[in-house]
């Protein structure tokens, strides 16, 4: 079911947490709400499921305005960060609880619980108590309980935050699989860009209660509208170089180094101050514009290494390359920047196109 936030505003007493937010989540889509801690992701999520009352604007499920509908009537499944399983009930009873509330008859409940448990692969755990499960298993139970009612919308608040790295990888694809198999519209809150990029159809990037950009992971990575968005996506993160436009080049501050502007952008006036966003994969390529610097740091990542290249003005470029034995710390290097793919921002952080 499509979800629409229309000029949605949320205040706690006098603090405005979300201001005039517009966001559409399409039917059957998995949308990520991505942003730094405290930007209002959970607040948005809890307002969609009805735990918080909206202070302004509307929330629509399909064509139904649910802004003033109680949580119980919204038909939303929620997976909380700490799973919130009912500790005194068995796994079966946990999953059956939403159906029991609906006063479904026992035989039907049994059928539904077993069906959903099979989908989520926890069929053999139904007799246990939550305390007897591992984190990943509890996570699956929480998913089951949220889905068993066949909600219109599934909300996940940092579902992977409490898992270890390996389980996180596994549950990432599991959640995606289950979401696709059920075809449910879902919103995933996370502050981990990798999670958002790898699982979701689209990402809404938030900061300080505002949505900065909404688009597909791929597009957001390659076409960020602001330097904040550019810096939020990508690991290792993007590096920025400050400079001034001189012809079709940028003269870096405090240096004689020049970097060519991409030919695709509209030529800014000479003397315009700009920030160049250079992703690690654009440094050390076989084409573009060479810059000289000193290797100041090498981080082993296994298949690849991450090199820090410090320029003569102190700015640091990051470069990710296949492991090379010909480079050591402190050595000077003359590496190419693939300037056609460099991102150019003005001093306010807006992308120049």
């Amino acid at each position: 079911m499509r979800i629409l936030l229309d000029k949605f505003t949320k205040k706690f007493d006098d603090t405005v947490v979300i201001n005039d937010m517009d966001l559409e989540i399409k039917d059957g889509e998995l949308m990520a709400l991505l942003g730094p801690s405290g930007c209002g992701k959970s607040t948005t999520l809890f307002s969609i499921c009805g735990i918080y009352q909206c202070s302004g604007g509307r929330i629509l499920f399909g064509d139904r305005d649910v802004s003033n509908v109680s949580s119980q009537q919204r038909n939303v499944g929620v997976v909380f960060q700490n799973y919130a399983l009912y500790p005194h009930m068995s796994i079966y009873e946990n999953i059956a609880f939403p159906l029991m509330v609906k006063k479904m008859d026992a035989a039907q409940i049994k059928k539904e619980v077993h069906a959903i448990a099979k989908l989520v692969h926890i069929g053999d755990l139904l007799e246990r108590r939550p305390s007897q499960l591992s984190g990943g298993q509890q996570q699956r139970v929480a998913l089951c309980r949220a889905l068993v009612r066949r909600p219109d919308v599934l909300l996940l608040d940092e579902p992977l935050a409490n898992l270890d790295a390996k389980l996180r990888l596994e549950m990432r694809s599991e959640i995606r699989r289950i979401q696709q198999e059920t075809g449910i519209t879902a919103i995933l809150v996370t502050h981990d860009q990798v999670e958002a990029m790898s699982m979701c159809d689209r990402i809404a990037l938030m900061d300080e209660g505002k949505v900065l950009q909404v688009t597909t992971p791929n597009d957001m990575y390659h076409n960020p509208q602001t330097d904040f968005v550019a810096s939020f996506l990508g690991n290792p993160p993007i590096a920025f170089l400050e400079g001034e436009v001189a012809g079709n080049q940028v003269l870096l501050n405090g240096s004689q180094l020049k970097v060519a502007l991409p030919s695709s952008i509209r030529q800014p006036d000479n003397g315009t101050k700009v920030r160049l966003g250079v992703r690690p994969e654009l440094v050390g390529t076989d084409r573009g514009n060479a810059v000289a610097g000193r290797i100041s740091f090498i981080e082993t990542q296994g298949r690849e290494n991450l090199y820090d290249l410090t320029l003569d003005n102190g700015a640091v470029l990051r470069s990710i390359q296949a492991v090379r034995s010909d480079i050591s710390m402190g050595q000077t290097a003359n590496w190419n920047i693939d300037t056609e793919r460099v991102l150019v921002f003005d001093t306010n952080g807006q992308r120049l196109l």
Binding site: I51, F80, Y86, P87, H88, P98, A146
Partner: protein
């Protein structure tokens, strides 16, 4: 716990030390029990005859005195009705203070804490006047209300502590699952605070059972006497003072306490543990 501990340090030295220090008390209790079933020559420590005569109060009532069973029944009513009152009010008030965003919440919390520390005796005269005015002086109902009211701050505080340990998300998950607020409380929260509820119940009952000052002041009459007052009136009676009878009744009086305590000692510990573990 105890198994894990004993692996790390030897427990028998502690046991011996505790036994040595407890021995005098144990001996005194033993004498208490033995004394109630025997007669002893004056000046001697060793009893010389076995008798049930000190327990005769169980089946005969001395003239001018109320039957022990009436007093027992009164004590039972006093303690259990008071407990029921304390439990029902603490259960709801604790929830409100812990969860609901009600006005003056801080004020109430402060009030509860202050009242908890308030010495009962300073209220006696005021309470006496109030009871007389509303006509509840010398009734069990009157003294039940007073004892319950004085117990409530403690009860509310304890229950609030237990509610605080139930994660907020559990309730929200329940609401999302479609349950009403009441159902969430009844089905999801209540089972988790049950240890607290049981502990508070036993504690209140024991408090009620052993309460002396309030019934002594507000229900002195024979037909509404509770056991503690009955026992006190026994000592106050100089005419025919029977020390062994006094001991027997005392034993009779503390027996339920010991039984309850033995049954629920683990649960009682919860009150002090804040209820994090069930």
């Amino acid at each position: 716990m105890s198994n894990e501990n004993s692996r790390n340090f030897k427990s028998w030295p502690v046991t011996i030390i505790l036994t040595v220090f407890s021995l005098p008390i144990l001996v005194m209790y033993l004498y208490l029990v033995v004394d109630t079933f025997t007669n002893t020559e004056p000046g001697s420590l060793i009893p010389n005859e076995f008798t049930f005569e000190h327990w005769r109060f169980l089946w005969e009532t001395e003239p001018g005195r109320v039957s022990i069973w009436t007093a027992t029944l009164n004590t039972l009513i006093f303690a259990s009705v008071m407990t029921a009152l304390v439990l029902s009010v603490s259960l709801t008030a604790g929830y409100a203070l812990s969860r609901l965003n009600m006005p003056y919440r801080r004020f109430f919390l402060g009030g509860v804490l202050t009242l908890h520390a308030f010495p009962t005796v300073t209220l006696v005269i005021a309470l006496f006047i109030v009871l007389q005015m509303v006509g509840l002086y010398n009734t069990l109902i009157g003294v039940i209300f007073i004892k319950a009211a004085l117990m409530l701050p403690f009860g509310i505080w304890v229950m609030k502590g237990f509610y605080d340990t139930v994660p907020w998300e559990i309730e929200m998950a329940g609401v999302q699952d479609g349950a009403s607020r009441f159902m969430v409380w009844h089905k999801l929260v209540l089972p988790q605070i049950k240890p607290g509820l049981i502990a508070l119940g036993v504690f209140s009952f024991l408090e009620g059972w052993s309460e002396y000052v309030l019934p002594q002041i507000f229900t002195p009459d024979a037909d509404v006497q509770v056991l503690s007052v009955y026992l006190a009136s026994l000592i106050a009676d100089d005419q025919n003072f029977d020390f062994n009878l006094f001991k027997s009744i005392g034993l009779f009086y503390i027996m339920p306490v010991i039984v309850l305590y033995l049954l629920f000692q683990n649960k009682l510990m919860n009150i002090y543990g804040g209820g994090s573990k069930g």
